[in-house]
């Protein structure tokens, strides 16, 4: 057998494995969705939930309709929250995978790039002082502020990195610096907060939560995440080439600075729109890419979708647990993400023999 044929066989075998892993993750996510829609502080369980959903999908089969309140709980309270958890988890994880690849650094997350701190600062401004960049009321002030400050952080990081000629090191260092700047400003706000209740509200926001999800938030976040993640997948060849080093990339005709810039914009748009609605949900964007990499390796064409699925699964499970543990009180989902994710991650880290990060 010739070497070329042998290589092709090996490649397609690996490809099959990757597709299989993605399929398995997809099934796991489906199971999580069914479990999540069947559980909650309200009384509807599996049978009621399925009844409601099937009666919506097939209205003509609706023999025994559930009471209006059950339909409301499933359709307007649980489902938008589940969808938002999936979209947010997928978006955060895909962003994490992309940026870790582009910056060739396994520790990159929205924290490192200063986005979380900036979003937190924007939200705290709105929560504590009611100061907003645009004249809106209620929860929208917080959302708008968090989003705009995340974008501002990205602009600052990019601007600073450009001063020294944009490179992975300058971006990461600028991100850390901007992150510290906004953290300090955030602490300042919390320190001078005139209402005692404001501080717990800020802390709660910083721990992240999906309890205010509505179809409106889903409709706003989903298109942004969908488009940015698709564009990230489109970038995956470039990221693959870039991961072999900037010199190799340049010699293969890939403009590394341009790829970095494009991906920074995509990552920020996705992350900012998500955490503006959910609060800072940490860990998902850091860890999901690693779990995905351990499962299928570091070909970004597969890694980005696989990370997205892992992130969606992780965040959905965490949010379901957050809804249930203290029901009918809500627990911030950020706490659960780490508490559940860390042991799982360590297990994979210890048990897998494959070296996932070169």
């Amino acid at each position: 057998m010739s070497t070329a044929a042998e290589l092709r066989r090996l490649y397609s075998k690996g490809k099959k494995r990757k597709v299989l892993a993605i399929f398995a993750l997809f099934i796991a996510l489906l199971v999580a969705i069914v479990a999540s829609v069947s559980l909650g502080a309200g009384s509807p369980r599996f049978i009621e939930a399925m009844n409601v959903i099937f009666s919506r999908v097939f209205p003509f089969f609706n023999i025994n309709p559930e009471p209006a309140i059950t339909q409301f709980i499933i359709m307007d309270l649980r489902l938008p929250r589940i969808v938002l958890a999936i979209v947010a988890g997928a978006g955060l994880a895909a962003s994490g995978a992309t940026m870790q690849g582009v910056l060739r650094n396994p520790l990159v997350s929205s924290y490192v790039l200063g986005i979380s701190a900036a979003a937190g600062f924007g939200a705290a401004l709105a929560i504590v002082f009611g100061i907003s960049v645009i004249g809106l009321f209620g929860g929208y002030v917080i959302i708008a502020n968090a989003f705009l400050f995340s974008l501002l952080a990205m602009v600052l990081v990019y601007g600073i990195a450009r001063m020294r000629g944009i490179s992975t090191e300058t971006v990461i260092l600028a991100g850390i610096a901007i992150g510290f700047l906004f953290s300090a400003l955030l602490s300042l706000i919390q320190y001078v907060a005139p209402e005692n209740e404001a501080v717990p509200a800020v802390v709660y926001w910083l721990m992240g939560s999906l309890h205010t999800s509505t179809w409106t938030s889903v409709l706003i976040v989903s298109p942004i995440v969908l488009i940015t993640v698709l564009l990230m997948v489109q970038q995956s060849w470039n990221i693959n080439v870039l991961s072999m080093g900037e010199d190799v990339a340049t010699s293969l005709g890939v403009n590394s600075k341009r790829v970095l810039g494009i991906n920074m914009v995509l990552e920020t748009l996705a992350t900012a729109s998500i955490i503006a609605f959910s609060g800072v949900i940490g860990f998902v964007d850091l860890i999901s890419p690693h779990i995905a990499r351990m499962l299928i390796g570091s070909d970004h064409r597969f890694l980005i979708p696989c990370s997205a699925l892992t992130g969606a699964f992780m965040l959905l499970c965490s949010d379901t647990v957050a809804r249930l543990v203290l029901a009918p009180t809500e627990l911030p989902v950020g706490i659960v993400t780490s508490l559940l994710g860390v042991p799982f991650f360590i297990y994979i880290l210890v048990s897998k023999r494959r070296q996932s990060w070169r």
Partner: protein, 365 residues
């Protein structure tokens, strides 16, 4: 060349942006601290000095404050620094307003307080030097005061009373203030004012069965923030003849209720507390109410369907619980309290204890 030019522009822009953010934050904090003081930068310095030199027979009283500390205070007290937001209102009501020589930034009622210099943001951030320079013979603070700062004051011989200015501690605090001011009669009168209305409400709802009491969802500060059974807000709801839908199992200090739980409980009445942060004008009340009336998670509740959504200023629940209680009782049982006009009683109260005509909105609608 072009690259260089671009680079320079980005450098300049970035530096300007960072400077703007830092500048804006510092300015924001600065105005926050200084604005309440600005109307009268140099208050009349002659307000109290004649009182201190007169040597009188010294008498000491001991009061036990909220922290359980027995505080020994030498009478008469003539120079009080009050850094507990809310305490100023009580001190003024029982005849001690003249004696306040320094205050926190949030003690703005009664309006006469604007002439008193600000020496602390709140009990969290006292300006030690400014306070000691005022030579106070009593400092009143809330639990925000750190133990270390309290000890520093006590080390130089200034007694410190730490009080929580809300139920269930309110009456004890008022009585303690009355004792150290030598105005116990006035303090008791102020307490009796509240108690008379508490008794009135208690008597009228006594005959109600549990099913006649409406279910109430109480919200404060942010969407879904509620109060669990046994909290001070919960006690007010129960005293006013309502049933709090929050379950008693909540052992969280700021419980956030699950929207689907609220939907299923379908409360008959929703009460939202307004704080200073929401704004205090008519529009702020309306904005809060409209947000609740249009919030998806609440759309199926009886309260929203029947527009039984009420907004109340937190001062009425904290510092003037009698008025807050009357509003709640009237909202919960409109026919039972048809003859009661909480707004009018509020006006009377302010006229009686502070000699001023009340203005502003405190409950809506």
């Amino acid at each position: 060349m072009e690259v260089n030019y671009l680079k320079k522009t980005t450098v300049a822009l970035t530096v300007v942006l960072i400077a703007l953010i830092v500048g804006a934050s510092v300015y924001g904090v600065y105005t926050l601290y200084s604005s309440p003081a600005s109307p009268t930068p140099s208050p009349s310095p002659s307000s109290t000095p004649s009182l201190s030199p007169t040597p009188q027979q010294t008498e000491t009283v001991t009061v036990v404050d909220e922290t359980g500390v027995s505080v020994e205070v030498t009478l008469p007290v003539t120079r009080i620094v009050n850094i507990a937001p809310g305490a100023a209102e009580i001190l003024c009501a029982i005849g001690g307003g003249e004696k306040i020589v320094g205050r926190d930034a949030y003690s703005t009622f009664p309006p006469s307080m604007s002439a008193v210099p600000i020496v602390a943001e709140s009990s969290f951030g006292p300006n030690m030097e400014q306070i000691l320079e005022l030579n106070p013979d009593l400092i009143i603070a809330d639990q925000g005061l750190s133990d270390a700062n309290r000890q520093k004051f006590e080390a130089v011989g200034v007694p410190v009373i730490v009080e929580m200015l809300m139920e269930p501690r309110l009456e004890d605090a008022i009585r303690n203030f009355g004792t150290v001011l030598g105005e116990l009669d006035k303090a008791n009168d102020y307490i009796n004012f509240t108690q008379s209305y508490e008794t009135l409400v208690k008597d009228r709802i006594a005959t109600l069965s549990q099913s006649e009491k409406p279910t109430v969802y109480f919200e404060w500060y942010q969407p879904w923030y509620t109060s669990s059974l046994g909290d001070s807000w919960d006690e007010l709801i129960v005293s006013a003849g309502g049933q709090n839908i929050a379950p008693s199992t909540l052992n969280v200090s700021n419980p956030i209720l699950s929207p689907e739980y609220v939907a299923e409980q379908s409360p008959e009445i929703i009460v939202r507390m307004l704080t200073r942060m929401d704004g205090e004008d008519n529009a702020a009340f309306e904005t809060l109410r409209n947000e609740i009336l249009s919030r998806t998670g609440l759309s199926t509740t009886t309260a929203v369907k029947e527009s039984n959504v009420f907004i109340i200023h937190n001062n009425l629940l904290v510092l003037r619980p009698a008025i807050g209680l009357l509003y709640l009782a009237k909202w919960f049982h409109p026919t039972l309290f048809a003859d009661i006009d909480p707004a009018a009683i509020h006006v009377q109260m302010i006229q009686k204890y502070f000699g001023i005509t009340l203005s502003g909105v405190f409950a809506y609608p």
